[in-house]
Symmetry: C2
Subunit: 180 residues, 2 copies
């Protein structure tokens, strides 16, 4: 495996199925509770992933391909997940994420990107110059940071239930490192 | 959902499918690399979960039911995963974990535990007195701490690839909190 794009796509393809297998029809005690005021539940994280699928990865990649560094990405709306989740069950959110991810990967394949394309540069509103390769790698790592978050938010619901074993469970000590 | 045992089982049932959906046939760059010497790859974590299924959860629950606090649990062998994984592909490990978890849950159902049973006490070799309820809750939280670990170990493989975005990805800053 020496093609970083294939490696990235292999993970992006699996995330919706993994989240579906973990979360669908799980009791709401696991999926709708968060870590306290202003934090996200597992269900809220899925809504965030939907919002990113709509507004972040493919739209930003398209901007790199069309405008290079001459037009910066739109700033990302971190609260967009609230709009995405309104009135929807977790099952509906999982279905929507699966559909949108599939459409994103279809668009990515249609671009038929080659190694030189991955070096093309874009402009991030805060981070400055970034490459298309970095954007696509971040898409996959972002799936992982939110899987990391979901496992932590769910474990948080059992922090009392495990009693003295809490000291052995690393996830119980994770504070999220300020994001994800 | 006010039955903590049902809540625990609902998660325990889903973990093998979630890991399968995430990891099966994923390139080895994702699944067989670790975070440095003495650390585990995603594949090594699955081997650890197999080892726990054999030696930890159900055997310890059985000891609580049979001996209460009069006989302590066997200490857990943290290196047992190396023996479990020898000569096996990740696909084989995932199959084995799925089978063993299913057998564990079958045994758990066969005990037909009631609320008073969950208060029964056992003796942990380091932690002292624990309850069956705490043991079973820890089984589920342990799945989550290792899902947390797998997402972190995989993200570690992309720490260079994401370039400047690393600062926004909490999982890249996680050091595992000494365990899991």
């Amino acid at each position: 495996m020496d093609n970083p794009l294939e490696r990235t796509v292999s993970l992006l393809t699996r995330t919706p199925r993994a989240l579906d297998a973990l979360l669908r029809d799980l009791p709401e005690d696991w999926t709708h509770r968060n870590e306290g005021e202003g934090t996200w539940s597992a269900s809220g994280v899925v809504a965030h992933l939907i919002h990113c699928e709509r507004t972040d990865w493919i739209p930003r990649a398209r901007r790199v391909l069309e405008f290079g560094e001459t037009r910066a990405f739109e700033p990302f709306d971190r609260e967009g997940n609230q709009r995405e989740s309104q009135g929807k069950s977790l099952g509906q959110l999982l279905d929507e994420f699966t559909r949108l991810r599939s459409e994103s990967l279809e668009q990515l394949r249609a671009w038929n990107l080659r190694a030189p394309d991955l070096d093309r540069r874009g402009l991030h509103p805060s981070l400055g110059t970034v490459t298309l390769s970095q954007l696509l790698a971040t898409w996959a790592a972002h799936d992982l940071t939110h899987l990391h978050q979901i496992s932590r938010v769910m474990a948080h619901q059992y922090r009392e239930a495990v009693g003295p074993w809490g000291v052995y469970l690393g996830v119980m000590k994770c504070d999220g490192h300020s994001s994800g």
